[in-house]
């Protein structure tokens, strides 16, 4: 029979364990990375061509290439961790990833939660890829209509509240695309950069991006909030300035077949 004493000792042991199970305080990320020899970067695995999988299972794309540049500069190995919109900030906060380059819009609300390093590295706005037959001309046309979305996107609430659309949010872009093609919704609210690439494909021939792009927000990569002014944040700031100065990002854009964006050209001219 389990005596009172044994039970209490076990309980005390568990309590002691949980007390020490705190997140470690203030280890500098840059030192940790160099010590570990591996840079862990959170990237998308379902957002072609910014982050997607090839047949061997590796994550490739515009953003993984950026991550590789950082790892090479630091002289360490690169480990890519697939993230989605609904968990990318949490992973960064928890310290599971050192750096997050995951097609994230830079907004003031997010700047309170994670450390978004300036300058931003890309830009996109919110738009809807809709079925041509739905004939959406202005944003008010989405009232009461079913619009597919991605769970965790910051503009879902905005579109639902401002224009009265019924957002049907899925866990990933694959599911949202399938639902759109099947007619479960008449449009998909997402970044216009994603649509620019998709609309060139034949299977999206019946779709269009007819609404004006709103909420143009630049994309930022992020480090932990406490590190933003520390050595790691400064390192990433320098990397970003360099990328723009050297035109590396414009070259990556061309490599992955992304239509040239005026935002990158602007920043390249600014830092030249």
């Amino acid at each position: 029979m389990m005596t009172h004493r044994t039970f209490l000792t076990a309980l005390a042991g568990l309590a002691a364990l949980s007390v020490t199970a705190a997140i470690p305080a203030n280890a500098q990320t840059l030192d940790t990375i160099k010590q570990r020899g591996v840079l862990i970067v959170g990237s998308k695995a379902d957002y072609k061509p910014f982050g997607f999988r090839d047949p061997s299972g590796a994550i490739v794309g515009f953003e993984p290439d950026m991550a590789k540049d950082v790892a090479d500069k630091l002289g360490v190995e690169l480990q890519l961790e697939p993230v989605v919109s609904s968990n990318r900030m949490q992973f960064l906060q928890q310290g599971k990833i050192d750096l997050m380059i995951a097609t994230m819009n830079d907004t003031p609300e997010r700047q309170k939660v994670v450390g978004i390093v300036q300058p931003d590295y890309y830009a996109s706005g919110v738009n809807v890829m809709s079925n041509k037959k739905a004939a959406l001309k202005k944003w008010e046309d989405v009232t009461g209509q079913k619009i597919c979305g991605i769970q965790g996107a910051w503009y879902n609430k905005y579109v639902a509240e401002t224009y009265g659309a019924e957002i049907v949010a899925f866990t990933g872009t694959t599911e949202a695309q399938s639902a759109l093609l099947q007619g479960n919704c008449i449009g998909w609210v997402y970044d216009d950069t994603a649509f620019a690439g998709l609309l060139t494909e034949p299977k999206w021939a019946d779709f269009e991006m007819a609404l004006p792009t709103i909420k143009e927000e630049p994309w930022g990569l992020a480090v932990k909030l406490e590190e933003l002014d520390g050595p790691w944040g400064k390192f990433m700031h320098d990397m970003l300035v360099n990328w723009h100065k050297s035109g590396r990002l414009i070259a990556l854009e061309k490599k992955w077949g992304i239509p040239p964006s005026p935002y990158l050209q602007q920043l390249h001219d600014k830092y030249k």
Binding site: M2, L17, T20, A21, R53, D54, P55, T171, T174, S178
Partner: protein
């Protein structure tokens, strides 16, 4: 009147095989796997016929991605083994605590069991993924907790509760005569449980325990929803990378076939064990 085989005073009746089940007692053990595979081939052939000549054929595409799916599926199996192990190791003491003589232990373990039995598995998974820290420090060493491990913990919680119920039910189903006999031989309660009762319970627990394992395995795709890269997430990534709608049905049927070919033999083995271990 009687033939040479029978006597009018049979001493030992011939052994009779158990009655075949009312479902017809089909013999082919992988019959249904073949049905699934046939459905797969049919859909593949149909999609192949519909696709243009410039597009890679569906079987070739599926074959191309099979190593990745195998990798993901291996993770599913690993998660199921680990969650089952952790759940069983935690569940047995919890089940024994439910029949403890001390009221506080009894009530608290009953409460814990009922709580985890009645919580949805997906909610527990979210809980563990989002609220457990990413690493813990015991003494001076730091142990990292990767995402798949956290979701394994999440899955082991309901397993623990179910095992606890199984253990409690099995212990209570042992005839009371066993306890009385042990008491008359001066066994302490702990010795009775450990040497006499629990060994007899093992046989009773095994079929429902294997059933629980099958349920657990079919629940491992839930980890995909919380961001673990197992077979289901990878299937989604593959469909995204390929970008073809005619690949949807074949890919998902393919994934279903993987799970079926793993779980069905377990189900058959469980059935066989049930008849063998039947307590008369």
């Amino acid at each position: 009147m009687t033939t040479a085989k029978s006597t009018d005073l049979p001493v030992l009746l011939a052994v009779r095989k158990p009655e075949p089940s009312s479902s017809g007692g089909f013999r082919l053990s992988l019959w249904h796997g073949f049905v699934l595979a046939a459905a797969l081939l049919l859909s593949v052939a149909a999609a192949d016929a519909a696709a243009g000549p410039a597009v890679a054929s569906i079987p070739a595409t599926i074959w191309k991605w099979t190593p990745l799916i195998a990798q993901g599926f291996a993770l599913n199996i690993a998660i199921s083994f680990l969650a089952m192990a952790i759940g069983t190791v935690a569940g047995v003491p919890l089940g024994l605590a439910q029949i403890s003589l001390l009221p506080p232990i009894r009530t608290s373990s009953w409460f814990v069991t009922q709580f985890f039995r009645n919580s949805p598995w997906l909610v527990l998974l979210f809980y563990c993924m989002l609220l457990l820290p990413f690493q813990i420090q015991i003494g001076g060493t730091t142990i990292p907790l990767p995402g798949w491990f956290k979701s394994t913990i999440g899955l082991s919680l309901p397993v623990m509760a179910n095992v606890s119920e199984l253990v409690r039910g099995a212990v209570l189903s042992i005839p009371y005569g066993q306890w009385e006999a042990a008491e008359s031989l001066a066994y302490t309660r702990r010795q009775t449980l450990w040497h006499i009762i629990l060994p007899q319970c093992v046989k009773r627990i095994t079929p429902p325990w294997m059933n629980l394992y099958a349920i657990l395995t079919t629940s491992t795709p839930l980890c995909a929803v919380v961001g673990v890269n197992e077979a289901m997430t990878l299937t989604g990534n593959i469909l995204n990378a390929e970008g073809r709608t005619d690949l949807l049905i074949p890919m998902y049927l393919y994934l279903l076939t993987w799970f079926f070919l793993y779980c069905y033999p377990i189900a058959r083995a469980t059935l066989a064990l049930e008849t063998r271990f039947q307590v008369r």
